[in-house]
């Protein structure tokens, strides 16, 4: 099976339809990325826009990367930012809140006390730490891939992830040191 990198390169070199296969591979994952952060309706509305943005930007893709997900998530993240900047999300006006899906998350929660404590703890994380944590935990990316999404050095992503995990583990262990102040 051809890698995403091969397909994207092929799509640049005269076979633009090869890009559709990349989309088929990752469409559920990218929709999930959007839905976790902006809700299902916004995800439904934005998915096509993500594909068009990605298709237009494919000439800049490094075919050495076999897995296109980090690149696609980066484009989806930008689409979300634009979505909020345009004020189309009602109630989510600030661009810096684009990865703050907590209203939607709370709606999904059952009554499990651990989950509720965890949600509060994740909410309390600095946004930069929260973002890398959720890329790894929710999107199943490696820290190196999360760094690609966020456009930061790998070491930065790793240290943010470490701080976030440490803060949350303390919370789950019932330690008062797991408060938001500890993680900042």
């Amino acid at each position: 099976m051809d890698t995403d990198g091969v397909l994207i390169e092929r799509s640049v070199r005269g076979r633009p339809d090869a890009f559709v296969e990349v989309v088929r591979r990752h469409e559920i994952a990218v929709h999930g990325f959007l839905a976790r952060r902006a809700g299902r309706q916004a995800a439904d509305d934005l998915l096509g826009e993500v594909w068009v943005r990605a298709f237009a930007a494919r000439g800049g893709y490094d075919p050495g990367y076999d897995d296109a997900r980090p690149w696609l998530y980066g484009i989806a993240r930008n689409a979300l930012r634009a979505h909020w900047r345009a004020g189309r999300a009602g109630g989510h006006a600030a661009a810096e809140e684009v990865v703050d899906p907590w209203d939607d998350v709370v709606d999904r929660l059952d009554s499990a006390a651990t989950a509720q404590v965890l949600v509060q703890a994740v909410r309390a994380l600095p946004p930069a730490e929260r973002e890398v944590l959720l890329l790894v935990a929710w999107e199943q990316l490696t820290p190196a891939q999360a760094a690609v999404v966020l456009g930061v050095p790998q070491g930065t992503a790793r240290s943010r992830l470490h701080r976030a995990r440490t803060a949350l583990r303390l919370v789950l262990a019932g330690s008062p040191a797991g408060s938001s102040e500890e993680s900042e």
């Binding site: 633009p16 469409e27 559920i28 995800a43 998915l47 594909w51 237009a56 959720l134």
Partner: protein, 70 residues
């Protein structure tokens, strides 16, 4: 991975769960992409066919969205 970390990852997975989208959603998003793809197909015959399909599909999407929003 330690037990503690596994517990954390599992708990995060629970709060991050979303159901997969309806097939219709995926299909419509691909149709939007097809319109962009059709604009770059080099062979004239292919371009005509794909562009025609993409335009038809785009028009359907616009109609559906108009219906939904109205």
């Amino acid at each position: 991975m330690t037990g503690e970390q596994a517990e954390l990852e599992n708990a995060l997975a629970v709060i991050g769960h979303v159901d997969p989208p309806a097939p219709r959603v995926l299909r419509e998003a691909r149709e939007v992409l097809w319109s962009a793809v059709a604009g770059e197909v080099p062979a004239a015959g292919d371009a005509r066919g794909i562009r025609a399909r993409g335009m038809d599909q785009s028009q359907q999407i616009v109609r559906r969205r108009t219906d939904r929003d109205s």
